[in-house]
Symmetry: C2
Subunit: 248 residues, 2 copies
Amino acid sequence: MGQKAIRGAAPEAKAARQPLRQEVVEGIKAYILRNELGPGDPLPTEPALCEALGASRSSVREAIRILTALDIVEVRHGHGTYVGRLSLSALVESLTFRGLLSPDDDFQVMSDLVEVREVFERGMADRIVRSLGEDQIQRLAGLVDDMRRAGAGEGHGFVEADRAFHTLLIAPLGNDLIGQLSSAFWDVYVIVAPHLDVFTHEHEAATIASHQRIVDAVRARDAAEFAAALAEHYAPVRKRIAEARARR
Amino acid sequence: MGQKAIRGAAPEAKAARQPLRQEVVEGIKAYILRNELGPGDPLPTEPALCEALGASRSSVREAIRILTALDIVEVRHGHGTYVGRLSLSALVESLTFRGLLSPDDDFQVMSDLVEVREVFERGMADRIVRSLGEDQIQRLAGLVDDMRRAGAGEGHGFVEADRAFHTLLIAPLGNDLIGQLSSAFWDVYVIVAPHLDVFTHEHEAATIASHQRIVDAVRARDAAEFAAALAEHYAPVRKRIAEARARR
DNA sequence: GCAAATTTGTCCGTATGTATC
DNA sequence: AGATACATACGGACAAATTTG
């Protein structure tokens, strides 16, 4: 019968009534805050949430879908609902779709994206060369070796080593946001780039060389040289994107 | 009666079957891509999507909720569903909730956030001072005047002028991603900061002074001085966050 | 290994609120 | 104001996945 609750009567006298599902979203968020839950902690079952928040299962489920998209909750079929990892997966989804969407601006998205990563690393140059430990520098050098080996054989491990290299580079900053943003941008790049014919495996040698130069600069604790090496590394990437753009 | 489609039989032989709603999500995204739709363009009605994608209303609606959270689709009650603005609203939601969540790390989130904005502006210093036009510099100076007026009277217009100032600062870069990220971070800061007692209106005078110094540096096209002015501007912000953190 | 219990996934039918013409 | 088209919300039923006895 769709019995109706008297929503909008008591609370917020004349405020534009927001959908019930949105109230449920806020209710679930408030529940997590109130109980100080963290990633992985269990949430009430759907029927329990229905009763607690005074909404039907449909509304509760739609609210859960919204929160799932934001990685605030995570659902395991047949098992239960839990607090999510609070990652930036939504950002990856958004940017990826935007990159695939516009037939012309997609190259601009890629270019912007690479530029931001460069700004992160160049802007933090002095702090990076200062705070990287000897063992971490050793691991960076090891990753360059991995790139050499992967470049000779298959191109698969190459991008992984490249990614690990840059992840390790910004790790010592202690700024999780930069790390996660950079990681998200990398995800987007890897997903979108193949659709734009940007990948050309001929440039691997140059990429390896510039990474080696970065390692050498870190070893020497030379921030200026470090920034210069980064510029040398990113310039051809942007150039390749520009070339692919011109090709259309 | 819940008549069942034979999902999982024909497609992807042994791949782990994903929920139907996820297929609907991909189907709607594919529809947008295939028809090269842009923000504001209309999408089929819910019943139409049900028939086109072979799913019930529930599944279609849950898929729409996911895409709405990502700002890929937008729904107007009683009117229809449309392609969304593809903004970074999901990022704001995610970061805001994360900031409110952890009782200790929230300050870290705020600190990281401000640091990223500083890196954007300092990392682009030379390009900013080079590409800002005379009229834009004039507008920057006008915004500083606005801050002076707002500071004397009410604190409301102050943050707006401050925001407009920084938005205008990075606008000439032509990097939409930086602009939208910076804007998103500002949103998060404004939402979360009041919960942490970071706002202390005593520092408005110093803020105005450092903004004036930024304008002067831009006028002189002096990138080094510009970067120094930015450092002077952001240092006290981070200091305030650190103080609020220590207060707990 | 099987069966029961729990929980989420999907479907349908219906009623209501909202915007447009 | 009425009619129409659409999204919102409800409730019940069954399917599928997971855990447990």
